[in-house]
């Protein structure tokens, strides 16, 4: 039961975070690119719940959901999106580079496909040092046409790395439809070429994703090597906030996908079969909303980095004893 509520909590947090963050474009609070993951929450929530805190994760430009799932504090995330010194990267990374080493979040990433071998490297470390950690790499359908994914899958396969490749197939790479750009119907079939399981999972069903990820994680921890997961999902918004997706897809397509929105469906499931009560879920939703509103307040209050910050951290000079920033020190 508890993990069911955790999945819901995670999905609802991601949805509300994206909704509220997207609204901060008013008054130019946010000027950088924002890539909303609304619609894809079941994938991030389901996969991340199958991981331990010291497992590794690499992400994409659409990385807010993965960061929340992995446990990056939403105050740090919101302040980072605002470009403030209280952000996860002190305002030097922005939305596309949110990272938190203390929870194994090795960064969102602005280059399509580029973060995939990083997960293999983290997995290689786990293998060499025998730490039993696993690494997950999230990427979209667009990245599956990048050579580096294929290099990474081959390396992971021949070295039996404890890594899980999670393709969030949301049907569009920016505006390029995957039925044009991908040479096969199911991207997961590409896993055959690298002698690893290629699982197809309903990316709008968090429990299916969770189960699939759990199996892949056990396989990785048991030393049986990598798994490729293709989660069929959909992003509700355009590629980024300023992009109008109706230029390249139909409103009826959006409508059909929103009919199977994972959040209300899972809410009904929790009430009917999961033993949750309406009050319990209402309270949870209210609390999440309040937390995100507080994150916005935190981000607004946090100062912009001083100009002296500009040239710091190009090279290593960070006082490592200051890494463990606790939530209490942020409020």
């Amino acid at each position: 039961m508890e993990h069911l509520l955790d999945i819901y909590r995670s999905m609802f947090t991601i949805r509300k975070f994206e909704e509220i963050a997207s609204r901060q474009i008013v008054d130019e609070r946010i000027r950088g690119l924002l890539h909303s993951s609304e619609g894809q929450e079941a994938v991030a929530a389901g996969v991340c719940l199958a991981l331990d805190q010291n497992d590794y994760l690499t992400s994409t430009h659409r990385g807010h959901g993965h960061a929340i799932g992995k446990g990056v504090h939403i105050n740090l995330m919101m302040a980072e999106i605002f470009g403030k010194v209280g952000g996860a990267n002190k305002g030097k990374g922005g939305s596309m580079h949110i990272a938190d080493s203390t929870v194994g979040m090795l960064g969102a990433n602005g280059i399509v496909g580029s973060s995939i071998p990083l997960a293999c490297g983290a997995a290689l470390k786990a293998k060499i040092m025998g730490t039993n950690q696993v690494a997950v790499s999230f990427f979209g359908d667009g990245a599956t046409n990048q050579g580096v994914l294929h290099e990474s899958m081959n390396l992971a396969s021949i070295w039996k790395l404890p890594v899980i490749f999670v393709c969030e197939n949301n049907l569009y790479a920016q505006s390029t439809p995957s039925d044009y750009s991908v040479s096969i119907e199911n991207i997961a079939d590409r896993a055959k070429g690298y002698s690893m399981p290629g699982e197809i999972v309903d990316g709008m069903d968090p429990l299916a994703v969770f189960d699939c990820a759990k199996n892949a994680v056990s396989r990785a921890r048991d030393g049986d090597g990598p798994t490729f997961i293709e989660a069929k999902t959909y992003r509700y918004r355009g590629h980024f906030l300023g992009d109008n997706p109706l230029r390249y897809r139909s409103d009826s397509e959006e409508f059909d996908w929103k009919k199977i929105d994972p959040i209300p469906r899972f809410r009904v499931f929790l009430l009917e079969e999961g033993g949750a009560t309406k009050d319990e879920l209402d309270d949870m939703e209210l609390a999440i909303n309040e937390n995100i509103v507080r994150a916005v307040e935190f981000a607004k209050k946090s100062p912009f980095p001083s100009h002296e910050e500009l040239e710091k951290d190009v090279y290593d000079n960070y006082p490592k004893d200051q890494l463990n920033r606790t939530v209490s020190s942020m409020e």
Binding site: N89, S115, P117, C120, A123, L124, V148, S152, D316, Y318
Partner: protein
């Protein structure tokens, strides 16, 4: 003390550093094969096992990404590209990931990565096996670039590179592999960012990079016969380079020659020249002179190679012209 060759010194640096630090591992194409890396990695796989000395498939972008990820996860990886030219296939990971993460991560995590790439000019190997691309890496904030010219520095700079918390591009040159000199046993460091005066002099400063250092020394000896005292500086590190050492020397000599066996336009020599002119314009007796390769891809035929590559003769000519114009 005993003497070691340049490549033998590199090998010893790898071996001693791997013995002392279990976080160090090597991922390198052909590291088990002398055809690719000479004797500079001989038997490391036998000593440390295939798990720490990995000879991967040809996948430069994947390899470079793997070492970046391993560094993010706390290891001190070394990736080896037997030609600088091959590193270019994976340069995306070096520029977009390795160089940026310290900054993008606000210094939360360091990137203790060593990228070793070998220049192997000549031998009619032509345009895709002979390139000297240090300037590309010198341009990128977040990277460090070292180019040792002697066996002692080859070992000491390798150890410093592996221990450094930032990504270091370590470029060695096959033309130097047979040089020998006294090299101490055991771990020692040559500081990154510090050049060295190889030959002191007061008439002209010759800043030389990597394989041009022995050529500059030859040139200096020839010039001495004419009573010209050339100061030879081995830059050793290109980023961050030792601006103080060079400026102090030019303050003394008023003349500057920069010898870099790489392309001319937007090259390392151009950067050094610009910096000196900006800072010491009024103290220069003549314009700085760059002794570089022409902006031409490396040719194959030996006759064209002869015309293409530079040596002590080019440095001597540059010095004579400069002093004549004073």
């Amino acid at each position: 003390m005993r003497t070691l060759s340049y490549s033998g010194a590199i090998l010893e640096g790898f071996r001693e550093k791997m013995e002392s630090d279990e976080d160090v591992f090597i991922l390198g194409q052909g590291v088990t094969n002398p055809w690719y890396v000479g004797d500079s990695m001989q038997d490391l796989d036998k000593i440390f096992g295939a798990e720490r000395v990995i000879d991967p498939p040809v996948s430069e972008q994947g390899m470079n990404g793997v070492v970046v990820g391993a560094a993010l996860a706390g290891m001190k990886p070394i990736v080896v590209h037997p030609r600088v030219d091959f590193l270019v296939m994976g340069i995306e990971q070096i520029i977009n990931e390795a160089a940026n993460w310290s900054y993008m991560f606000d210094g939360q995590i360091s990137m203790p990565l060593t990228v070793r790439a070998i220049i192997n000019r000549g031998g009619e190997q032509a345009a895709q096996h002979s390139q000297a691309l240090q300037a590309i890496f010198m341009h990128i904030p977040g990277l460090k670039v070292v180019m040792p010219s002697s066996p002692y520095d080859a070992k000491g700079l390798l150890i410093s590179s592996i221990e450094d918390p930032d990504p270091v591009i370590y470029i060695d040159d096959r033309w130097l592999y047979d040089l020998t000199e006294d090299v101490p046993e055991g771990l020692y460091r040559v500081p990154i960012g510090k050049g060295k005066i190889r030959i002191p002099g007061e008439d002209v400063t010759i800043v030389a990079i990597s394989s041009m250092v022995p050529e500059a020394e030859k040139a200096s000896n020839v010039l001495l016969e004419d009573g010209i005292k050339a100061e030879v500086i081995d830059l050793r590190t290109l980023k961050p380079w030792d601006t103080e050492l060079v400026l102090d020397s030019v303050r003394k000599t008023g003349n500057l020659i920069i010898a870099d066996a790489a392309w001319r336009t937007a090259g390392s020599a151009a950067e050094i020249s610009a910096h000196v002119v900006e800072n010491l314009f009024s103290e220069l007796k003549a314009p700085p002179v760059r002794v570089t390769l022409p902006d031409v891809p490396a040719p194959a035929s030996r006759s064209l190679e002869e015309a293409y590559y530079i040596d002590s003769g080019d440095i001597i000519n540059a010095v004579r012209k400069t002093l004549d114009t004073n």
